[in-house]
Symmetry: C2
Subunit: 158 residues, 2 copies
Amino acid sequence: MKNAHDLINANFKNAKLLIVEDNNDQWLIIQQAMRQCMSELTAERVSTLEQAMTLLNDWRYQEWEIPKLILLDLYLPTNADGWWLLKQIRAMSSSIGKLPIVMLTSSVDPIDIKDAYRLGVSAYVVKPIEFADWLTCFRELRTYWLETVTLPSIQYEF
Amino acid sequence: MKNAHDLINANFKNAKLLIVEDNNDQWLIIQQAMRQCMSELTAERVSTLEQAMTLLNDWRYQEWEIPKLILLDLYLPTNADGWWLLKQIRAMSSSIGKLPIVMLTSSVDPIDIKDAYRLGVSAYVVKPIEFADWLTCFRELRTYWLETVTLPSIQYEF
C-alpha cells in the first residue's frame, strides 16, 4: 500500500511545470528562480494563448507529458486573455482540467483576485519585485506543491 | 495603492481557520500544531456536518467572521459526508464559496485524491503520522497560505 512518503516522492517523478508567461524578461527571472530552487523540475513555457491551447490539446493524448502544476500569468496581455485560458483549462474533461493552477501576476487589483478564485485557481500569488523575493516565492511553491501536497494522479484516457 | 506587502499583512488580520474534523484525537493534535506554528491564528472547529452548515450559514450575514482557509477532513465519518460538505461550500454564492479549502485526510486512495481536485479543493494533504511531521505540515500551510499567497478578499453582501 502506498503511504504519504511514496506519494510525495511520486510528485518529483518526471516533474514539470507549465508556465504561461508572455513577457520575456519575466520568463528569464522565472528560469533563474527555478534553476536555483527547483533544479529537479523542468519548465515548459508558452507565451501566447494559441501556443498554450496547442500544447494542452496535445497532452490529452500524451498524458505522461502533463505537468504537475500550471503557473498562469493573467495579463496575456489583457486579463481577458488570462480569464479565457483559465476557463478553457478548467472546462477540460481530461486530467488537465483538474491540475492545480497558481495565478502568478503583477496585478493587486481586488477584482482580479476575487475573479481568480471564483474561476477556480488553486492560489493567487502576486509576482515579487526583488529577485531575492522571487527565490523565496519559488522555494515556497516547491515546498508546498511538491513536498507537502498530494497532487492529483494522472489517468490515462486511452 | 496596495502593494504585495500590504496584501500579505492583510492575511494575518483577524486570521482564523475553520477546521472540520470529527475525531477528537486528531483535533487535539491540530490544536497543538497550530499553537506552535500559527500562534497568531485562531481556530474554529466543527465536528459534524450539521455544525458546519450552521456556522457557514451564519457567516453569510457576519462576513467579518469568515476564516482565511478551511481545513476539511474527508471521512466525517464516511467520505460521502466530506464530499457532500465540499459541494455545499463550493455551491455557496457568498465569499465563503470561494475560500481556499485544503483537504486534510488520512486517505491515500487515488480515487479520493482525484475526486477532491475534481470537486474543487485547493490542495489535498495527507495527514502526517508523527507529531514532528504535523508541525512541518502546519508550518508549511502557514508559510504558503499566509505569507506567499494572496487570499480572496471578503466582500460584504448587505
